[in-house]
Symmetry: C2
Subunit: 238 residues, 2 copies
DNA sequence: CTATAAATATGACATTTATCATATGAAAAT
DNA sequence: ATTTTCATATGATAAATGTCATATTTATAG
């Protein structure tokens, strides 16, 4: 009885979690969710702190319950190249877990985060016994791959200006805006530069230009998109 | 008896195939290899011809038995950005098959190719019934993802000169050289430019520079790496 | 074999972007 | 409150790269 109650409680906890609703984990059945709830651990990560660093062996995946994180890699010249931003509902560290390799990227919090850690053994177990789960997981990696390939093309074929416009639109679409219309993800100019792959000064300069052209408005360090249509046009053509 | 003989023959054909030895297909058991051999179709693709074009629904995967292919995407400005080269032993079209999406990239032969087509139904069947196969497939997509992410970083953080040096080394390492020491993959300058993401003229100019510096030698349209050490140095630092 | 087209090569120049210097404003530390 | 530090901002300049023009060579078609 005590066990039953505990399990029910645990199950509900994971069952209602946003990650369970949005990620590959949606394929898990009740029994599996209970196992999950019993094996997971929850962690709070403060803004700026790392969930894991590149080169670390993670031995499991992280579910993002709340907050925003960045996946990035440090280059030889000391710059931090952001590969991807993650928000609540997403899984982290799947790739290196499956490849049996240390993390290729670092994961750090951009806004305070709450994440759950699921040990590798659980995931492998689900993977082997639940075809829908393995298919979902596979599809999510495939989605990442497609996005990465498209990013690669954009990096090569678009100018810094176009990439900045594109990235601002993307941030707006994916993370939304605050009540004062400013973008919800608050990146420093340096981080934004790291995302589009340019020098911090170039990024700042272009933001100034966009501001003068009234495409965006700079409210202190925050950014408001004022003319989405024109930004889209800028992101597309020259 | 007739059936048995036919199956044995078919199994052997796929069983000894290089793709079977190198790709996710190595996890298949005898019975599965027989099924595979009976459902696959073999195709010859001439240099320059397409295996599939971006936007097409492929409904299966292609095994590269022989030859070299390129995965590329046409950009709005008409340039063909090469994402990846494939050689014998590799699978093609896994991503779009699993994502249930039309191909994101085009696959074309750079050297005459021989490929086998395996229908989606077979692959899904293997995926659902053979855990090792699904894990292998997953790992191969993960490997592609890691490579793509690293490429992304290189594109942003390295100069065109560095990327050219890196790409030449990579082509040498992955595809080897002919008896006259020239690189085995023979790309046009335009294709090479497409790989490193630069203008054709810039690529030609840098090849000339490398030639003058005796890092490489240009034998007509072919390329010989003369100073691998110096090329490596160039690819790394500035 | 010649004519035509395509790929390679190179110069001249324009544009984009990075780098360095320096200023200003905002946040953090003492 | 003041100093120190850090992010943002902007100008001046250099370096990298793209674009256009135009040979030259090589491949292809007739």
């Amino acid at each position: 009885m005590v066990n039953f109650a505990a399990n029910t409680f645990a199950m509900n906890k994971c069952d209602q979690c946003i990650v369970r609703q949005l990620s590959s984990l949606k394929a898990l059945n009740k029994e599996e969710v209970i196992k999950l709830a019993n094996s997971k651990t929850t962690h709070k990560i403060k803004k700026g702190e790392a969930i894991f660093e590149e080169g670390e062996v993670t031995n499991g995946v992280f579910c993002v319950k709340d907050g925003i994180g960045k996946l990035s890699k440090l280059s030889s010249n000391g710059k931090d190249q952001i590969i991807k931003l993650v928000k609540s509902g997403e899984l982290l560290g799947q790739r290196s877990m499956i490849s049996n390799e240390p993390a290729n990227l670092s994961a750090k919090a951009i806004a305070d985060m709450e994440v759950c850690f699921i040990p590798k053994s659980e995931i492998i177990n689900f993977f082997n016994n639940n075809n829908q789960f393995s298919l979902n997981l596979m599809q999510s990696v495939c989605e990442d791959l497609k996005e990465s390939e498209n990013d690669k093309i954009a990096l090569v074929q678009k100018t810094v200006k176009q990439r900045l416009a594109e990235t601002l639109l993307h941030l707006h679409e994916e993370f939304g805006e605050n009540t004062d219309k400013t973008l919800k993800v608050q990146l420093t100019r340096e981080e934004l530069a790291g995302m589009i792959g340019t020098a911090t000064e170039s990024c700042i300069r272009l933001l100034s230009d966009f501001n003068k052209l009234e495409l965006i408005e700079l409210v202190g360090k925050k950014i408001v998109l004022k003319n989405v249509k024109a930004l889209k046009k800028m992101a597309e053509q020259l």
